[in-house]
């Protein structure tokens, strides 16, 4: 494994159900890597194992077999607090349903990952305002999530995901609950984060438009990687067409 690899998934299997019960194999020996600074998309129909894969990567669930190495940490060997600390420090999350704590202001929500690390309040304020400027959400900081629109909420969530400079930003259908304008803004934002901060991004989606912002796309079918396409030098709309074509043949 080179130091440039942020995610290395090797022979990953996940089986649901106990040995003596009826079992269901969600992942059947997955292999892939994500290099540092890459913007990778994972596509697949419902039930293909996308969410299961993301849960393994983010340590919310444990694999039955295989290895997941994220930024040099073998997450399958971690337990208890290590897992929590790993999620808090190495991974930034954007969820479909925002996952903002409505009892906290936007600013407090963004600062949460830093507070968990025990960062001093001066450094924390600085980091929050830096990220808020990058994402142009400075005016939203004193508001509560209930006072924000879906798009604004997701931008706050994005700020929270990157404020502590994680090794990788993971998005689980982050545009799923957004209107098309907000969705586009968010994807542009993720592209900016990817380019300017050289942060690796892993985007799980079933939406071809969202996927067209990626550099490389892995298609999952029935728990295995079915195919892979790269954007290369083509512009986004051409890549969008390629994705659509791929989906057309892929789902046959």
């Amino acid at each position: 494994m080179t130091t440039n690899t942020v995610v290395d998934v090797h022979d990953l299997e996940k089986t649901y159900g106990k040995a003596n019960e009826r079992q269901y194999q969600a992942l059947k020996g997955l292999n892939f890597t994500v290099e540092a600074g890459e913007f990778v998309g994972i596509m697949g129909a419902s039930g293909s194992g996308k969410t299961t894969l993301l849960n393994m990567l983010s340590t919310l669930d444990t694999p039955t077999k295989g290895d997941v190495v994220v930024n040099g940490h073998d997450v399958t060997k971690m337990r208890g607090n290590q897992l929590a600390d790993f999620r808090a420090q190495e991974v930034g999350f954007i969820f479909q349903d925002f996952n903002l704590l409505e009892s906290l202001t936007a600013e407090e929500n963004i600062g949460l990952p830093l507070a968990l690390k025990g960062t001093s309040s001066r450094v924390m304020d600085q980091a929050i305002h830096e990220v808020a400027d990058t994402l142009s959400i400075a005016d939203l900081l004193p508001k509560y999530p209930a006072e924000l629109s879906g798009g604004q909420k997701q931008r706050i969530a994005a700020a929270r995901a990157i404020v502590h400079h994680p090794a990788i930003l993971m998005g689980d259908e982050p545009t799923g609950a957004l209107d098309s304008t907000s969705a586009r803004e968010l994807l542009d934002l993720m592209t900016t984060i990817n380019r300017e901060q050289h942060m690796s991004v892993l985007l799980v989606t079933h939406d071809p438009f969202s996927a067209s912002f990626c550099q490389r796309i892995l298609f999952i079918k029935d728990g295995q990687i079915g195919s892979e396409i790269k954007r290369g030098e083509q512009d986004r709309s051409a890549f969008y067409q390629q994705i659509l074509n791929e989906l057309g043949t892929f789902n046959e």
Partner: protein, 606 residues
């Protein structure tokens, strides 16, 4: 089919239902026990030395009914919070509102009826054992107390089933009026209260003002008489409420700006408290008042128990006076821890009792300044006078006159003769032995026996008492009802108020579940979440606790006129507070454990 689904829903949360059921059952049992005492006419008549006993029991019953209503309200809201998501789902799946309404109604009613029935049976058993035990511990003997009393059973059943019918109707209306979407997403709302500095200030000032009036009213109960109690109750309630509203938000929001709030989960904790405490203001006010009442009741109850001997001691000079003691009585006297003892020979003739001055010179009659001078009341000061002076003043003291009681007509008039004259004097010769013991509590059993023998041999007019021990017994009976009520109501209040708080907090748990799920996802350690919850619930328990303790400390002023010195309602309250707070802490731990179980996300299993 829907019925089956509902039943399955209950099965899934059987532990939460068990807690609810146990709480309601206990409440019904406590109410039955009290109703058994309060409505049992034979029992009250047999024990009511004080005519006020009926009033005291009535007052207690009203308080108990009030808290029962509040209790069922909160238990019901806990029930509803557990079920509304399911009901929303049923409606979304196409169940008619009418059908769901029927389910809600039936579920609440069945649960309530079950709790009432089990509660009454439990109450019967507890009446049998617990009341007996409590009375035994207090050394009280209440006659005509039977565990089963039909009117009490009826009263409990009617009140509880009635309240549950109301609760069912309330749930029915509430569920059928709310939209399906709201039912499905009730947990996701959190209102953020805003601070209005001016209103906040006004409410703080008013709050302090009302509290001051309330506390003053309690302290000035002598001048205000009975009206002090309702005045204090109203003003303290309003004052506490306003003060809560005014200060807590400001404190929390102030804390949120500090550096402390930016460490670990502290910010989250404050955010939670911010919207929670505001919603809880009314609740916390009620709980703190109930806390005060419960604590006050126990404190006063135990105060009487502890301090009766002291009060009795200040009333006279000797503990018992035994006339013509026999061998058995002598044996009993030898068992006492005697501080002072004297024996006098009397010759009774006509309306006069003659004493031998030689005897009085040899063992002067003890007098007690406490009986005449107020400043010696707390520490009885014993002294004796010269014979000449004694003949004039001391011999007219009630204590001395009581040594020779002439049935209904009063006392024999004392006359003093020297040894020679005394020997010649005709009349019925009686010896009387006065004994003063170190501690009445210590020798209670022997004194009781001795007193019984004395009363068997020499019947006295019921209005007369001879010796401090008899005063002690009389007062014990006098305050017995009050004291028992104090303990009983105190424990009952505590049990119910703490579970009110428990249910209110647990009602918020389903909503919190999602918040902790989010925290889990972004990588908060389990331990940190555990501690955060412990702090949050701890603070919610602590606030009414502190307010309650303050209320009690002021509220006890009210009992000062009732517990005249040397008694004081403040004596020995430390240990009572400790026991009470210990019981309260147990509720905190139970709530915390339940909360952890409902809220904390489970780590993935391997």
């Amino acid at each position: 089919m829907l019925g089956k689904l509902a039943l399955a829903g209950i099965k899934n949360r059987r532990r939460d239902y068990l807690v609810l059921l146990v709480g309601l059952t206990m409440s019904a049992a406590i109410f039955y026990m009290f109703a058994n005492l309060a409505t049992n006419q034979a029992f009250i008549k047999a024990n009511a030395v004080v005519s006020q006993a009926a009033i005291i029991f009535g007052f207690g019953a009203v308080l108990l009914i009030l808290i029962t209503i509040v209790y069922i309200m909160y238990a019901n809201s806990f029930l509803l919070s557990m079920r509304q998501h399911d009901y929303g789902l049923f409606m979304m799946l196409g169940a008619t509102r009418k059908r769901v309404g029927e389910l809600v109604f039936l579920e609440t009613l069945i649960l309530g009826t079950l709790a009432t029935a089990v509660g009454i049976v439990l109450g019967l058993l507890m009446s049998q054992f617990l009341v007996g035990l409590l009375l035994d511990m207090l050394g009280l003997h209440l006659a005509h107390l039977s565990a089963f009393y039909l009117p009490a059973v009826i009263a409990t059943a009617v009140l509880y089933v009635g309240l549950f019918i109301l609760a069912s109707l309330f749930n029915l209306v509430r569920l059928t009026r709310t939209t399906v979407l709201k039912l499905l997403h009730t947990d996701e709302q959190a209102n953020q209260p805003k601070i209005h500095p001016f209103r906040q200030m006004v409410s703080a000032v008013l709050g302090v003002l009302f509290l001051a009036i309330g506390y003053w009213a309690l302290a000035a109960i002598k001048t205000l008489q009975v009206s002090a109690i309702p005045v204090a109750l109203v003003t303290i309630t309003i004052g506490t409420y306003l003060l809560f509203r005014a200060t807590i938000l400001v404190i929390i929001q102030g804390l949120r700006r500090t550096k402390w709030a930016k460490k670990h989960l502290n910010g989250f904790l404050l955010g939670q408290l911010n919207f929670r405490v505001y919603n809880y203001t009314r609740m916390l006010t009620i709980v703190s008042l109930l806390f005060a009442m419960a604590l006050g009741a126990i404190t006063v109850g135990s105060g009487y128990h502890r301090q009766l001997p002291m009060m009795a001691n200040s009333l006279g000079t000797y503990t018992v006076a035994i006339h013509d003691k026999n061998a058995q009585e002598q044996k009993l006297i030898d068992q006492l821890n005697v501080k002072h003892q004297a024996t006098y020979t009397q010759k009774r003739q006509g309306k006069v009792v003659y004493y031998n001055t030689a005897e009085l010179k040899r063992q002067p009659f003890e007098l007690n300044r406490g009986t005449t001078e107020a400043k010696y009341r707390t520490h009885p000061a014993y002294y004796s006078e010269s014979l000449a002076k004694f003949k004039k003043s001391g011999s007219q003291s009630l204590d001395f006159l009581s040594l020779a009681i002439r049935s209904e007509q009063g006392f024999y008039a004392p006359q003093f003769l020297n040894a020679k004259q005394f020997a010649k004097q005709r009349g019925k010769t009686v010896t009387v032995t006065t004994v003063r013991v170190k501690s009445m509590n210590q020798d209670k059993a022997v004194l009781k026996h001795l007193n019984k023998l004395e009363l068997q041999r020499f019947a006295q007019p019921s209005a007369m008492t001879v010796g401090n021990y008899q005063s002690f017994e009389l007062m014990s009976a006098f305050f017995g009802g009050l004291e028992f009520m104090g303990y009983f109501l105190g424990i009952a209040f505590l049990a119910m108020l703490a579970s009110c708080l428990m249910f209110k907090i647990l009602s918020g748990a389903p909503g919190d579940k999602q918040r902790y799920q989010m925290l889990y996802k972004i990588g908060v350690r389990q331990n940190l979440m555990r501690h955060g919850i412990a702090k949050e619930i701890g603070i919610l328990f602590l606030i009414p606790g502190i307010m309650g303790v303050i209320d009690v400390l002021f509220g006890l002023q009210m009992f000062k006129p009732l517990m005249q010195s040397p008694m004081s309602p403040y004596l020995g309250i430390g240990s009572i507070f400790a026991i009470f707070i210990g019981l309260y802490a147990i509720y905190y731990v139970i709530t915390l454990l339940l909360y952890w179980r409902i809220v904390l996300p489970k780590a993935p299993a391997d």
